[in-house]
């Protein structure tokens, strides 16, 4: 007599890939715009990127219903913060809030794989990467989602700083210029699109720097 298994799951995976790269005074956050279910495409034009605060942008792949709910919760909490503190939340503060929010649902998690990008209190680029239940770390670059296994090794090759055991400690933030970083991101997605069926259609890139926020798009293969 085998244990009864549920034949209905509250979760679904809508696919997609997200990437973020931190620079000396900028941050690039990118995600494809394909939303799928199973082997079907639901839409070719869905944004996985959400601006949470003036200097903080989140990209999430996974189950988009949970992603949307998570974005709404964080936006509401940010409003409360603004009322109480009379200012916008910093990226590190939002980073901690996201972690706490995810862990709050430790026993019925948000099926959401997040990457938070923005500028820290000193104006330097920062990227935080998360698992579904809130474990997080500040890094110089990160990738999440269905194409992450294809993109992360490539970014490691291009961006990874020498071992942390080496002294003096090297900053994880990339020395690349903003245009070089954007180019790198486009290359990542063009490659991931080739082999990952859940990634493609269009690439949405958001760039955060001292001048504000900028958005650009790039076409990807649609097959």
């Amino acid at each position: 007599m085998t244990k009864q298994q549920a034949n209905w799951s509250p979760y679904d995976n809508n696919g997609g890939t997200c990437v973020a790269i931190a620079g000396a005074d900028y941050c690039v956050i990118a995600a494809d715009t394909r939303m799928s279910t199973g082997y079907s495409i639901l839409t070719r034009d869905y944004s996985k990127i959400c601006k949470l605060a003036d200097k903080c942008v989140m990209a999430s792949s996974g189950f988009q219903a949970d992603v949307k709910a998570l974005q709404k919760v964080l936006s509401a909490r940010h409003l409360i913060y603004q009322h109480q503190h009379n200012k916008q939340m910093s990226c590190p503060a939002m980073g901690q809030l996201l972690s706490n929010t995810l862990y709050y649902k430790r026993f019925f998690p948000y099926y959401s794989f997040n990457v938070l990008g923005g500028l820290d209190n000193e104006g330097k680029g920062c990227v935080y990467t998360y698992d579904a239940v809130g474990s997080y770390e500040r890094v110089g670059y990160s990738s999440q989602g269905s194409g992450a296994t294809l993109i992360t090794p490539f970014l490691d090759n291009q961006l990874k700083s020498p071992s942390p055991l080496l002294l003096p400690a090297k900053d994880a933030v990339t020395p690349l210029s903003e245009t070089e970083a954007i180019d790198l991101v486009k290359t990542c997605f063009a490659s991931a699109t080739e082999r990952d069926i859940y990634t493609g259609d269009k690439l949405e890139i958001v760039v955060l720097n001292a001048d504000g926020i900028r958005r650009e798009y790039m076409e990807l293969r649609k097959d």
Partner: protein
């Protein structure tokens, strides 16, 4: 109003059908420093007098943003006002979360009124001692409401509450018919003039007043001191040099409710405030 045997708790009626505790709460509003509001078809302006207790202390905050489209000015027990504005913010956020659209002002005002009414019908509570001028914008246009401690609320073209508000009301009564068609700047000018009326000769500067605006295409925000001072100078309404103004009843924390009731104001044919 004089002390009588029916005013001990809010759940006791007087033989004349009055709830004295509620009326005393309305008195607390009259003791607070002045707040005024006026609206046109597309904008609402709130302004208030900010008197600090002493030169060493900072001004009390009397205008609060509840959401991008709603703001509130208070007069009376400012602590009660702070708590109510937190409630307003929370309601606005929850509504936006559920319906992805801004909370209509009329709805918020009713919720506030119901909240105030509860405190007039529980023996273990007391009425909120604060009057709220709620300014907001929604699909049906620009609105200004007044919420009182009794749980009543009214919509106004223009209104003033707090100490010496009658002077401002007189000024506004003369001019309110033009407000609907006023431009944003005219509205601001009238607001500052009305505030000046409550100062009774004292010089109007941006350090003693606060002004906030909400309008079509303009989120609710408090104007910064520099802007207000520029407006005052532009409209040339600074007024004569101060002869020292009498000590005003600056908003006090709830330590002096007794003083308000014992003021020995001329008794007599004051209609119960709920009858307005």
């Amino acid at each position: 109003m004089f002390r009588n045997q029916y005013d001990t708790d809010v759940t006791t009626w007087s033989p004349a059908g009055r709830l004295f505790q509620v009326e005393y709460a309305m008195e607390a509003v009259k003791q607070g420093s002045a707040a005024i509001g006026l609206r046109s078809k597309s904008h609402v302006v709130l302004a208030c007098v900010n008197k600090a207790n002493s030169e060493l202390s900072s001004h009390q905050k009397k205008i609060f943003k509840a959401d991008d489209h709603i703001g509130v000015a208070i007069a009376g027990l400012t602590a009660d006002g702070r708590v109510l504005s937190r409630y307003m913010r929370s309601e606005c956020i929850n509504y936006s979360y559920s319906y992805e659209s801004p909370l209509p002002v009329g709805r918020l005002v009713v919720q506030l009124a119901d909240k105030a009414q509860v405190c007039t019908q529980r023996s273990w509570k007391r009425p909120y001692g604060v009057g709220l001028l709620v300014a907001g914008l929604d699909e049906s246009g620009a609105h200004l409401y007044y919420n009182c401690p009794s749980g009543n609320y009214f919509e106004y073209q223009a209104f003033a509450i707090g100490s010496r508000s009658q002077a401002a009301k007189t000024y506004l009564e003369r001019r309110f018919e033009n407000f609907m068609g006023s431009s944003r700047d005219d509205l601001l000018k009238d607001a500052l003039f009305a505030i000046r009326e409550t100062l009774q000769g004292e010089k109007l500067t941006s350090s003693i007043c606060t002004v906030a605006v909400v309008g079509v295409g303009e989120a609710f925000h408090i104007l910064d001191q520099g802007t207000v001072q520029a407006l005052i100078e532009a409209f040339e309404i600074a007024g004569e040099e101060a002869t020292a103004s009498e000590p005003t009843a600056a908003d006090q924390p709830a330590s002096e409710p007794g003083a308000a009731a014992d003021q020995g104001a001329p008794a007599g044919h004051d209609a119960a405030p709920m009858d307005i």
